[in-house]
Symmetry: C2
Subunit: 369 residues, 2 copies
Amino acid sequence: MNANNVTAPSSEPQSLFLRACLGLDVAQTPVWLMRQAGRYLPEYREVRRQAGSFLALCKNPELAARVTLQPIERFGLDAAILFSDILVIPEAMGMELHFLEGEGPHFPHPLTRLADLDRLNLPDPEVQLGYVMGAIDEIRRQLPSSTPLIGFSGSPWTLATYMIEGGSSKKFAQIKTALYDDPPFLEGLLERLVTAVVHYLNAQIDHGVQAVQIFDTWGGILGPDEYRRFSLEPMTRIIAGLKRRRPDGTRVPVILFSKGCGGYLETIATSGCDVVGLDWTTPLGQARARLGPKFALQGNLDPAVLYASPKRIHAEVRRVLESLGNQNGHIFNLGHGMEPNLDPEKVPILIAAVREESKRIRGQSSTHV
Amino acid sequence: MNANNVTAPSSEPQSLFLRACLGLDVAQTPVWLMRQAGRYLPEYREVRRQAGSFLALCKNPELAARVTLQPIERFGLDAAILFSDILVIPEAMGMELHFLEGEGPHFPHPLTRLADLDRLNLPDPEVQLGYVMGAIDEIRRQLPSSTPLIGFSGSPWTLATYMIEGGSSKKFAQIKTALYDDPPFLEGLLERLVTAVVHYLNAQIDHGVQAVQIFDTWGGILGPDEYRRFSLEPMTRIIAGLKRRRPDGTRVPVILFSKGCGGYLETIATSGCDVVGLDWTTPLGQARARLGPKFALQGNLDPAVLYASPKRIHAEVRRVLESLGNQNGHIFNLGHGMEPNLDPEKVPILIAAVREESKRIRGQSSTHV
């Protein structure tokens, strides 16, 4: 069985990554890694030092471009992803933001009620987020045209957790209180975020990203009805508002990744996305059976496997690939981001295993043309 | 449809809680709350101050009994649960344990390899854990005989995470490295924990607990194959080793709660447990459909609902109950423990809603005798 086995249009993409996003035939499975540009790379830490702070790095187009390219140059991954942070959106909307060393993001003035939404403005991506667009321009200048560039945003629900809790949270007491007792406040915030994210992602597409991913890190803390209403529904509205074709006619695939939401795949299938990101708790074969062939899948190796021996990494990569078997529509990735203390030397082992094993699996039968 | 609609034996229990565990008819749904004895209660904080430290409170049978009884006296819940901590087992096995104020548990000498297992002894529950047995004796003396007492233990997998990571963890890098690269070490540890927990829970049953719950807080960080092998399989061996009948012939139900494992219910069904605990991401009706009528269900209100208004608490309680409808085999509970900053005044609202709504639902039709 092939996913999305559509007749090839003239604008059919050439890269493994974009072809896999659209369910087209590929000779081997493409691979990129969430948080592939980051602290586990010594060359990243060097640039981060140069920038002075994490936020300064995000806001410097030259340096942001440089760290975006580092993992491509070092490992030859099949796609680059813009280096930035999901919280640049709330900051551009007017919220003061600090990254405290070792403690994560901090909003000293979190939102507490409906009236606080008046403090938020709708950012012009070319102005308040011009540094992101500058980074994309710079990346596109330096990145080989054969390597696709992925843009991204946080989901409205995930952004709202930080804006209401004031930072990372374990208990989510504030936003859940809002969810249960003050839906107009929460929904008003989500609505503003939908608009801001649509503008932001469309500007990224205008500047040359060829696919976009929506990161919904915190969808999994919600029950099924709340997930549908407060996490998925705003993402669905975003997807409906995106420019899905580039000027040359190629489709811009949308990847939706709701961590910890393997129980909600049938709901996710209604979002309009092209690719569903999976963490390691849902086997790819099960996800394909539940979602049907219309969706490409992205994932889903436990990042902790990269703490293991080369032999074990190879075996676990094979297990992920064999869970789907010889089917199109798969982008290999981790089920969550690269950890800062991982050994970069493990990455080429993973990539080689993906290529070797996916070619082997594809060679085993001839159900694809 | 009724769950476990068995013919009533002469030893059929009278309490709502035990009847519901066994799928027997009840006039209303019983309710207790995970971590119902704890910091959200001012009378608990007073006793905790008296004890000097958290561990000292666990080790003082009089005081442990007193805090166990507090929520029963204040709220009239349908079951009491022994006040203790899951980490008394590793401590009794010989591991130094501290509870750092505001930082949680800390093992200064975590286990790192197979040879470290020689440091562990098999505790005699009447000796190294005699204070727990003393607390049970004291609780049974003071608790009305109509109120069942629940004993508990952590699951081997969950205990192992603390013993290998050295405390609470977010990334679980150490235990996952062991899982992938040193299974003999991890499985050796799990085997020792299985034996220790079987002895511990059987001693609790001897001293008078009428049901036991296995808390598997961290099963949800595992993929499906690893969950089966490292979390569920040791729990299955424990359940097989338990005394399932008290001297008077009444059955001792086993509740298994693997947080974040709604995707693995079909695996959990093989464990031999009587009751499956659920967090709020799996609707009760869906769980019943997937598990079949042989299992009672426990849960599954999001504890964050208790931050909400009385009206909203009532509505959410009703929603949980209506998800199962008029079926036996349900114990109302939260999907995770009570939070320290919750208002105790919310608890009677929850309890009243459970009783009112479950009686209403049971009155709606006559599918039960």
